[in-house]
Amino acid sequence: MSPSSLYKQGAIVGAYEYPSRSMPDKTAVQVQAECLVKALDEAGLSLKDMDGLCSTRIPGMQPISFAEYLGVYPTYMEATQIGGSSFVLYLIRAMEAIAAGRARVVGIAYGSLPTTEGRRIGTGTRIGGAGGEVPVEYSFEEPWGLPLIGTYALCAQRHMHQYGTKPEQLAEVGVTMRRHAGLNPYAKYRDPIGVDDVLNSRLICDPLHLLDCCIISDGGGAVVVAHPDIARNAKTKPVWLLGSGEAAMHSSSGHRDFTVSAAAQSGPIAFKESGVSHQDVDFAMIYDAFSINVIMTLEDLGFCKKGEGGAFVEDGRIGLGGQLPVNPDGGGLSSCHPGMRGMFLLVEATRQLRGDFAGTDRQVPNAKVAAVHGIGGFYGTRHSGVTVILTSE
């Protein structure tokens, strides 16, 4: 089988995650810039070599404001805002741009400081953004008081009802992520927890407990994508794109299946394009905003049947050493979640595929193929899904 037409047309040559989870002495754009320079540097590149720039969310007109801060003049730009999966989308766009000859070196960067700024992500208000522009659909949601976490809870509740998924199975996701975080010296929370700890943590939006929810941390990261000619001379081992898919999921005009996510569309597209089977995948990076995301995404990507995700995450199957390790860095549930985690999925996938953690328990042995799925937005109302299959070969 032949992979995507983008295979070997571009490569990830740099990946960097800021080591701290609290940066009170920095600005978000500063963190973003530092990460980008570090990611370029490990490939032996600098800002002067970069002609493409992707960023979002930092206040300003992105990515132009970021280009201004850096002092660069990109000839290729991307800033589509589809939530936390945006950076995974930029990876696809960067590969497309390089394949089309529109760029040679594309930087994708992110920095956000919700801890320092005291910003609530999951339980703050969602409406009445700057400028007072209210999306049409919000009139049918905001009056009822559903916070971000609640949109995920609607899916979890229906999944439990329809398929008998148990709170203990949801809890298993957080327990596994915490175990992985214990192997990551930079993870925000590293002390082991058990299923009882999750179930005994307070309910935020039923059925999701506090420890079913991602943490809030400062954070930043960057990846650099380059033309194969540049990748060949880079100091790092290149990581290639085998396949990709994207999807939008919404209310389906009042006929939504709450047990299915956007991954059910983006996953099959990406797998088909990649030419690899699920058995070929050595580990997965899944945007674990909440425990239910991992369970539903595993089903929707096709690692198990719909409804069997709860059983799949049991018995250490998604832990390091298991059948399909998920988020060896500790994920958004324990390591790093500054609001848009998609960036860190790419960084960890790249570093695992390069074997950066060789000789430690965090390394997925012989990791050659990674399935990466980013989620953006509000699970039970509207969200994006972007899947990429990456390889070191």
Binding site: R120, T123, G124, T125, I127, G128, V134, V136, E137, Y138, S139, F140, E141, E142, P143, W144, G145, L146, P147, I149, G150, A153, L154, C155, Q157, R158, H161, R202, L203, I204, C205, D206, P207, L208, S251, S253, G254, H255, R256, F258, G380
Partner: protein, 140 residues
Amino acid sequence: MTEDKKPYVKPLPVPNMESEPFWSALKEHRLQVQQCKSCSKHYFYPRSHCPFCYSGDVEWVGCSGKGKVHTFSVIRQNMAPGFREEAPYVVAMVELDEGGVQMMTNIVECEPGDVSIGMPVQVTFEDVTDEVTLPKFKPA
């Protein structure tokens, strides 16, 4: 607004040309949704064309106000004004008897712990301001 009435601080809907009939019917304590005359599907939220077959031949149909809980969550934490004081409360997707079309709402007049998926519910109209009436649901 009378003096003894507390100001309503929760977000209010912003009716537009496409959704105005929905909100004005609620003021008269009537619940109505749209149905496509071409493919006969009910859909929500309101808009000028059918999102299933893209026909513009759509009509407003009165609802019985009966339905059941499709999914829900007990919201125990929401820092937004108006909701902070009220937690825990229930946000649900109710599927109406009319074509099973879903809408978001609050389940009221019962303990949050008594709500379950499949529970039959009935609309109740809450005049939250002089201009706006919201459709909430209570156990049927």
